[in-house]
Amino acid sequence: MNSAQIEIQLIASLVAIACAIPGTFLVLRKMAMISDAISHSILPGIVIGFFITHDLNSPILILFATLTGVITVVLVERIQKTGLVKEDTAIGLVFPALFSIGVILIAKNANDVHLDVDAVLLGELAFAPFDRLILNGSDMGPKSLWIIGTVLLITIGLLVAFFKELKVSTFDIGLASALGFSPAVLHYGLMSVSSITTVVAFDAVGAILVVALMIAPAATAYLLTNDLKKMLTLAILIGVFSAISGYWLAHWIDASIAGSITTMLGLVFLLVYLFAPMKGLISVIFKERQQRIEVSLLTFLLHLRNHSEIEERHVNHLNEHINWQKVRSKTVLDLALKNNMITIDKEVVSLTEKGDEFTSRAINYIITNEDSQIEGMKDDFFLFRG
């Protein structure tokens, strides 16, 4: 690896971390689409800032663009508050308007300004190492590394200081307000951080792909954990992993770095969506199947208990009596046998002591709905789990 490659991966990783932090809260607040709106509507801010400063890394440009991001949020809320349109419609009205103003501004001035729509939309990480910070004649590394590093430090500082406030206002806005933690201050704080992160990240990954870095790691982490701190950590790790693996994917297939990073984010999400231990698709399907069998088992045991007549308990007649298909009866019979809940003597099924006790407890739970009952059952049997 040469130093430019290391620098690019470092920048991509810092961008990923800076995006994952506000992204986690956006996902939990069901505001993922707001990041899409911000990422587009900062364009006029960037363009105007660029006309003034002629420097994509100028703090004034960052300030202008961040302001446009916050204005977007305010506009969306204003339109939504009229009660005439819903939030998603309001978002759909605001950001294309602002974005198109930016596009027109670029097009009208394309001759004398070195800024084109492609660069804004997709970014170009590969060029980041060329724009260097020179202090007193010595090379301090790429400018964007310093800018993103600064924003990241601020973000982490705010997160550590206001973690508890962000948590309570995200979970229960009414309580936050009653306790005196102004939800409005926290909301606009989060929106400002999201905007400034989007602005500094756009240079590296482009205005559109920054959305992927904000939302995908958080959405993936959400499927893996039930703890906010772990969700933040996982989102950061997933972001960094996708940034670095995406870089090497781009290197390998000779494609856009930003595009490859986003592809990796999508792939990671897909894998987790399928295979996550608790909330993954496969796990959910498996659990549902299991539950169906378990409920069938209980129905079967109940039937046995309620009928002492031999003909009602004959293996071949069970299908008819509880109206099941052969396959299902077989599965349930096998399961009950395996757990020593029944015995089969000359094709006639009887409950064992264990089966009888289990049935009583299960019925007792269903009737009383008492938690202590189910807690005990969960330990030694699989029914009612999850």
Partner: protein, 244 residues
């Protein structure tokens, strides 16, 4: 007569300039267990939210022990409607209860051992100690309600506002809530509960407010909980049989 815990003056609240609460005057004496009753859309939750400063009123004022709510936050605990939050939020029972301590901590300061201990005690009071590390989405509706109750208890307030705590809960939870209400009354705390089940009002509460956009009546249950006020509040000829 006891001290006045909560005083509401000429309170009007509007959504998009349509009044949902109209000129409410209300004095709640210290130490009462008060139910707020009224039909759907009567503004019961809105009244609580306006008192707690969650909603901005169009007009009027609220005093908690003679001072504005903002200066008396530490005296007040709030149990929102269970359905007002997303129970899929990645957090545990103990963590939700601990949120009740955030108010006394103020900005930036983190909960420590003392807050954790208080939260565990509150969980024990509502019979949920064994669920302390359970993810909140894996709790039943009644258990979630008890977590909210524990969160209010940990605030150790003088006045408790509860928004429909009995809504859709199991028998165990209902008994727990009632016992805690009684316990709070013993400690001379004031409890204000938005309540739906008219049958249980005389049994659970000693004070009642009838509300339907306007205030219909407020006072001791034994004096004003009658068919006349019920009919005025609910519009139709309302009859409840009150067991003696």
């Amino acid at each position: 007569m006891n001290k006045i815990a909560v005083k509401v003056d000429d309170l009007t609240v509007a959504y998009n300039y349509k009044p949902v609460l109209w000129d409410i005057d209300l004095e709640i004496p210290e130490g009462v267990l008060m139910a707020i009753v009224g039909p759907n859309g009567a503004g019961k939750s809105t009244l609580i939210k306006a008192i707690l400063g969650i909603l901005d009123p169009l007009a009027g004022s609220v005093e908690i022990y003679g001072k504005p709510y903002k200066k008396q936050r530490s005296l007040v605990a709030y149990v929102p409607q269970k359905g007002s939050v997303d129970w899929d939020f990645p957090t545990t029972a103990i963590d939700v209860v601990m949120m009740g301590t955030y108010g006394s901590l103020g900005w930036i300061r983190r909960p420590r051992q003392k807050q954790k201990k208080a939260s565990l005690e509150a969980l024990e009071k509502v019979g949920m100690l064994s669920f302390k590390n359970r993810q909140i989405s894996q709790l039943s509706g009644g258990q979630q309600q008890r977590i909210f109750l524990a969160r209010a208890l940990v605030q150790d307030a003088s006045i408790y506002f509860m928004d429909e705590p009995f809504q859709g809960v199991d028998a165990t939870t209902e008994v727990t809530i009632i016992n805690i209400l009684k316990e709070l009354r013993k400690q001379n705390k004031t409890v204000i509960v938005v309540h739906h089940d008219l049958q249980t009002v005389p049994e659970y509460f000693d004070w009642v407010t009838f509300l339907n956009v306007k205030k219909i009546a407020t006072g001791p249950v034994k004096d004003i909980f009658n068919d006349d006020n019920l009919t005025k509040t609910y519009g139709i000829n309302y009859k409840v049989s009150i067991q003696e």
